[in-house]
Symmetry: C2
DNA sequence: ACAACTCACTTTCTTAAAGAAAGTTATATT
DNA sequence: AATATAACTTTCTTTAAGAAAGTGAGTTGT
């Protein structure tokens, strides 16, 4: 249907499912602010300059996806407090890696805008990386993906599609 | 202006800049396929069921952002080969982490759809994580962020906004 | 050499959703 | 009782998404 955004629900792929849930500029920014501790409708509205209509829709979508949950402000029944669920909290790494990438490739004189640190030691974090089963760090270049046990024909079809095209 | 999607270019924040460039469902999926080795207009078109109009726009946007680059197929001057630039390749970690999250929270009987492995040893990868400067792995719960040297008033303003609201 | 075919787009047309701004409702404060 | 505030909802206009058909340079088959 024209105008309707395409849904990826039928795509048998974890990545596509993730994008179905949070692959929207506003969702990304809202979750980012939630990860930083923001909780109020008003604050998202003001800080992100998002219209209240769209904000309400996004909060509803994120709630339905089980990424956030709202509760009434115990001090003032008018207010709601929006918080990340464990599912939402686990996006922290994705956000860290994306923030690092963004800061690297949209650089600013003076240094990074955001730095990550270890809350136990206060030390700055070196970065985000893939880790072997034995706890060894792996160079980004060594990381590749393949179809897992729950993988579908879709992924193999993709591989075939790609193989058929190989140049050079 | 109504209908115009909001731009985040003025937001002084690496994360927002990243979202400005790739924070769109189609861009995400296109880059995912590029990371898996897909290179052709036709293949994105068919595999993602994206309309050619929108695909052309996205490829243009990603090219302008310096994330992909096109070259003519040396074997057939009709065809173009789209490839990730180093900037684009560096999104691999973000994609790995997001795929892992999506596979975990949209689970499938039988196991993960996609598994990551070390191209040197063939061993499966344990996961993605934050790493200290000294190369130690950090528990996700220990990771937090703060304003860096290039950080702006925007982030501090956000922190203030949040602090003002603290409950419990 | 010429027709048929491919690839990478454009164009056209319809409709859903984004943005701006004003309005609503249920509490809360004075 | 009057005013304020938080979290939405409504209205209205415009842009962009989606479907489908069309275009043009380049290639292949005969």
């Amino acid at each position: 249907m024209p105008g309707t955004r395409t849904s990826f629900k039928d795509m048998d792929c974890g990545f596509a499912q993730a994008i179905e849930l949070i692959g929207d500029q506003w969702c990304f920014l809202i979750i980012r602010n939630l990860l930083l501790g923001m909780t109020r409708f008003e604050d998202f509205n003001a800080h992100l300059s998002i219209s209240s209509k769209v904000l309400a829709h996004r909060l509803e979508r994120l709630t339905a996806a089980g990424i956030i949950k709202a509760r009434v402000d115990p001090r003032d029944a008018r207010g709601k407090i929006y918080e990340l669920t464990p599912k939402g909290e686990e996006l922290k790494l994705v956000y860290g890696a994306l923030t690092e990438w963004g800061d690297k490739w949209s650089p600013k004189a003076g240094g990074v805008r955001t730095e990550f640190f270890d809350t136990k030691t206060g030390d700055m974090i070196g970065g985000f990386a893939a880790v072997s089963k034995t706890g060894r760090l792996l160079d980004e270049g060594r990381v590749a993906s393949r179809t897992g046990p729950g993988g579908s024909a879709v992924r193999d079809e993709l591989a075939t599609m790609i193989a058929r095209r190989m140049v050079k």
